[in-house]
């Protein structure tokens, strides 16, 4: 481990004595003890790190060609698409990259929900993660405004108008955000600045996220603590480096499929129409990754109430470690929670579908039921399950469930 790490080369020794970067790297990457039973759902942390770096790098080169001005933004994006060498590819990587990153983050979060990774002692990892998710939402939204097409413009209008729901100061706040009396150039310029800044804040939080993770170590599919000094762990390198790489390659195949074959599948055609402050598109919907929250917003017939409920739907995640009263982490050993977990996933997907439809009639009624269930899951079911659920017996170690009967008995006699 890191305590007795010694660089092999003379330069390495010289350097490490003055700045122990190599020790840090060795301690957290190379032989870092990792539970040996992590499945492919655990590869999304690495995939997300890759996505973040890809977004930063492509964003950096796009910013070399983009002009953040209401009169020129749309044309500068078209200039990137038509004139700049490989500009079309860089932009498609960046635009689809946002979708891919949300796809990965939702899987990453669902993994935590299923295996109870947010529970003691990993509450802070989870809470930092919720903040990363919030920053991702803000970054993605502001990035979507930058091309200054019809969807960009009206998304900016609708979302900034959410703040006008705040009593008394709402109007002053929106005017402050806009730098004017409507969405226009001042807003675009500040959104560009913030869109450039936020990925670096996310990166800083990712470092804290991993740092906090490396204190207790990884959770695992069994949801039990690693037995110290046992054979429950393997070194991170090469075992999980190779596993993460393989998952990343599969992920990149899908990513490339989007970029090269259906680059506009997840976008809206209306965003190829330049922003027009005098006309709202007929059917305005956010990007797919915001749809569930959009459905929650629309299901409330009150302006302020809708905003509060939408914000709460994300904020409530931060309180999950205390809303969940069960001592057992993994859903593998929680027969009731396991069913409610899938019901919750289905509910979120249903909300996403409803968010893409017009908000009236039957759709609105179902959206209200689905919204209610979303909150019931966190506020009623999660606290209640810990008391009423009869959990399955937990294995003594990560190795135990895969050992044969004789080996298990052998282990039992050894331990007595």
């Amino acid at each position: 481990m890191s305590d007795n790490y010694e660089p092999s080369s003379a330069i390495g020794k010289w350097f490490d004595k003055r700045l122990p970067l190599l020790t840090l790297f060795a301690g957290h990457v190379l032989p870092y003890p990792t539970p040996k039973n992590l499945n492919y759902w655990w590869t999304f942390g690495g995939i997300l790190t890759f996505c973040l770096i890809a977004q930063i790098v492509t964003g950096l080169v796009l910013a070399m060609h983009y002009v953040a001005d209401a009169d020129q933004a749309f044309n500068s994006v078209e200039h990137i698409m038509r004139d700049v060498n490989f500009g079309w590819m860089l932009r498609y990587i960046h635009a689809n990259g946002a979708s891919m990153m949300f796809m990965a983050v939702y899987i990453h979060m669902a993994r935590s929900l299923f295996y109870g990774s947010y529970k003691e002692p990993r509450e802070l990892i989870w809470i930092i993660g919720v903040f990363i998710f919030l920053l991702m939402i803000a970054t993605a939204f502001m990035g979507y405004v930058l091309p200054w097409g019809q969807m960009s413009f009206w998304a900016a209008t609708v979302i900034t108008n959410l703040f006008s729901a705040i009593p008394f100061v709402g109007e002053s706040i929106t005017n402050w955000l806009w730098g004017g009396y409507a969405v226009g150039s001042p807003l675009l310029t500040r959104f560009f600045t913030l869109h450039y800044l936020m990925p670096f804040l996310i990166f800083a939080l990712v470092i804290l996220h991993v740092w906090a993770l490396h204190v207790p170590g990884n959770n695992n599919p069994e949801g039990i603590d690693v037995v110290q000094g046992s054979q429950d762990t393997v070194p991170f390198h090469p075992h999980y480096v190779v596993k993460d790489m393989f998952a990343l390659v599969v992920f990149l195949v899908i990513f490339a499929g989007f970029i090269f074959f259906v680059p506009n599948l997840l976008g809206h055609t209306d965003n190829y129409i330049p922003a027009n402050p005098l006309q709202t598109p007929e059917h305005i919907v956010p990007e797919w990754y915001f749809l569930p929250f959009y459905a929650i917003l629309r299901s409330v017939p009150d302006k302020l109430g809708g905003v509060i409920l939408m914000v709460s739907s994300i904020a409530i995640l931060a309180f999950l470690p205390w809303l969940d009263t069960s001592k057992v982490r993994s859903a593998k050993y929680r027969p009731l929670y396991k069913q409610f977990f899938w019901l919750f996933i289905a509910d979120v997907i249903l909300l996403g579908y409803l968010g893409s439809q017009t908000a009236d009639g039957l759709f609105l009624l179902i959206a209200r039921i689905a919204t209610a269930y979303y909150f019931i899951h966190f506020l009623v079911l999660m606290p209640l399950l810990g008391f009423v659920e009869k959990t399955k017996p937990l294995p003594k170690s990560i190795s135990e469930p895969v050992l044969s009967k004789e080996e298990r008995e052998g282990q039992a006699t050894q331990s007595t």
Binding site: M64, V84, N85
Partner: protein
Amino acid sequence: MSEDTSVTRRNFLYITTGSFAAAGSAALAWPFVDQMNPDASVKALASTEVDLTPILPGQSITILWRGKPVFIRRRTPEEITEASKVKLDELPDPEGDEDRVQNPEWLIMVGICTHLGCIPLGQKGEYNGWFCPCHGSHYDTSGRIRKGPAPKNLEIPQYVFLDENTVKIG
């Protein structure tokens, strides 16, 4: 390699995986480098047509071509004689006047000093040609370097006379 260390499947896998990763990374890195090269909109402006009718002998104009100044000078007969009688061995960058013009009356060259990129002033300097105020390079009536730190003659761009009074640069 000694005899008992034969090539194993693992060696093969390491090398093929490594090669694929390296080739893939290089292919992916290229667009990120190439995006900074002149783009299609810049290349589209690579040639400029100039109407020569208003220029009288002894006058010159400066036009912008690819973002650079280009001098177009209608030379006087004296300037042409002065330029053509210079012996090649007197020149730091030997080049005959006839090699620098298509029509001796029209001298067309990029107006950027070959030293460090400033724009020389016309009809100045010891040789009555161009003089660069930045570091004191003197060019003659053919735009050839005669004195000072510049290493080369002023560059001649590609051009064609489309008709008597029109020239296309680039």
